[in-house]
Symmetry: C2
Subunit: 335 residues, 2 copies
Amino acid sequence: MSKEFNIAIVGATGAVGVEFLRIIQERKLPVKHLILLASARSVGKEFLFQGSTIQVQELTHESFSGVDIALFSAGSSISKEYALSAISAGAVVVDNSSAFRMDNEVPLVVPEINASDILKHRGIIANPNCTTAICVMALYPLHLEFGLKRVFASSYQAVSGTGAKAISELGGQIEAITKGEAIKKEVYPHQIAFNVLPHVDSFLASGYTKEEMKLQNEGRKIMHLPDFQASITCVRVPVYRAHSAAVTAEFEQPVDLDRARAAIERFPGVCLRDDVSQNLYPTPLDVSGTDDCQVGRLRKDCVLENGLSFWVVGDQLLKGAALNAVQIAEKLLQL
Amino acid sequence: MSKEFNIAIVGATGAVGVEFLRIIQERKLPVKHLILLASARSVGKEFLFQGSTIQVQELTHESFSGVDIALFSAGSSISKEYALSAISAGAVVVDNSSAFRMDNEVPLVVPEINASDILKHRGIIANPNCTTAICVMALYPLHLEFGLKRVFASSYQAVSGTGAKAISELGGQIEAITKGEAIKKEVYPHQIAFNVLPHVDSFLASGYTKEEMKLQNEGRKIMHLPDFQASITCVRVPVYRAHSAAVTAEFEQPVDLDRARAAIERFPGVCLRDDVSQNLYPTPLDVSGTDDCQVGRLRKDCVLENGLSFWVVGDQLLKGAALNAVQIAEKLLQL
């Protein structure tokens, strides 16, 4: 690869897409040309990038000529349809969808945890599920210290995890309720304003959702822990941005709170916000827009012998999506 | 006791107090006189009861003359200060605060589970913590079937659990944000609108909150299970009414989904709302104002050998507070 690179963003107008644009500028990626791709109805929309205006182009199989890295965030079906065209044109795909994550040929990467897996790529590198990425940022440093066995967790997931339309739906419902008007439900099957829904992604025959199985399945692959077990209930909450999770984790070895705190503090990309005497713990509102995941409410679990319980929050559009993908792109550019 | 009874409500103007009033009428308790008691600043407020207007009186140590049953819901310190005066005057106290719940002399009762404990009372019967009451309504029928050992849980608690001021705080914050004005924080240490706070009740040295330890401590006492273990993270969410919990429960015996469903369906006070193919699961918005707790998302746990995971929602002002207390009062009136 040359010293400046052509980067394409697929899904440029989505909630994650606009974060790609911002983060690429913020982190000063060596970009020669930035190509913004989306569906036909977004063609012509303009975004400012490094002082120039870039128009959104329609995504086609011919969009990837000369592209070095294509950042995909437009859903699984788009990734499945266009990733091969990007690879054929010589690009490396960093895919934010779930399309290829569990493919044995595709590395699934959180750079702080398994950056070296990038070396094994054959054209596609997958970006993990947002809740999974945020949880493993807390779990992995604890694993290094105590040996992770299994977790029981519950999530509190923001509407922006669903996308830009869901942000509008929450805002629209709040406005309608304030005015005493009927609410509109187009994205979620039930009202999300002033409500919580134990329903993220579609249901499997087991009664779990696809989203819920990602923590175990993707967690095993990212952390290189084939026996890792995770049971989670994923819940949508009326929060605009940043996902939270309450996690109880069981370890091989006895846990020590001071060592646990130190392990989290020295791990890159995650920080402690944990002084309950000062009411200090992470909240999604505080974490929104910040790169690092935050861990609080760290305590020895009262049920499990070698257990720790904690609360972890991360901006799912950043570490859970765009930031992690751009970090993968940065590693690729260094190869 | 005579055929008609004098009932006093302590904390008559609070979020739970107004539910007491409504439920006593709805369930047609044989009330001769209803005495509404609150602090001095609420004196003179009027409520309609069975077609007559009742004025709120100031709570004093002399308020309980002739009272048969005193329903307390004005916080622990009020209960501690005035319960003895009520008992001395000949009343039986049904106390919604945490003041006496773990007192060995005081029965802690969910009538569907341990009504016979009422017989042991010495003047006070305690009403359980709201989240605990809702969780045990799902756990106890499953315990009867499979033998309950321990649970891992997370709660999604509505602001009305904190009281009437917290309802105003959420509404006021939403209004301020809509208008682009600064929000006010008086009840919660952080913004609750569009946010979630892993903080319900005060923190203990262990890192758990008092609220979080209630599920284990009160659960043991209500279910007569001295070895029951529970690890929960209690979280406040921007929902007006009804508490939800995601629960993973481990049992002595192998679990069977059909038997689990049947056990919940035949238990009084709790019902199944569980057909994910139709997006049917309980939500706090749907459960608000309804007496029965609802269970959904029932599934064999993917981590625990004899485990079930589920989602339970209950109106914490009803089964979690006023309804349960009135049910206890009904049992007392039948003695």
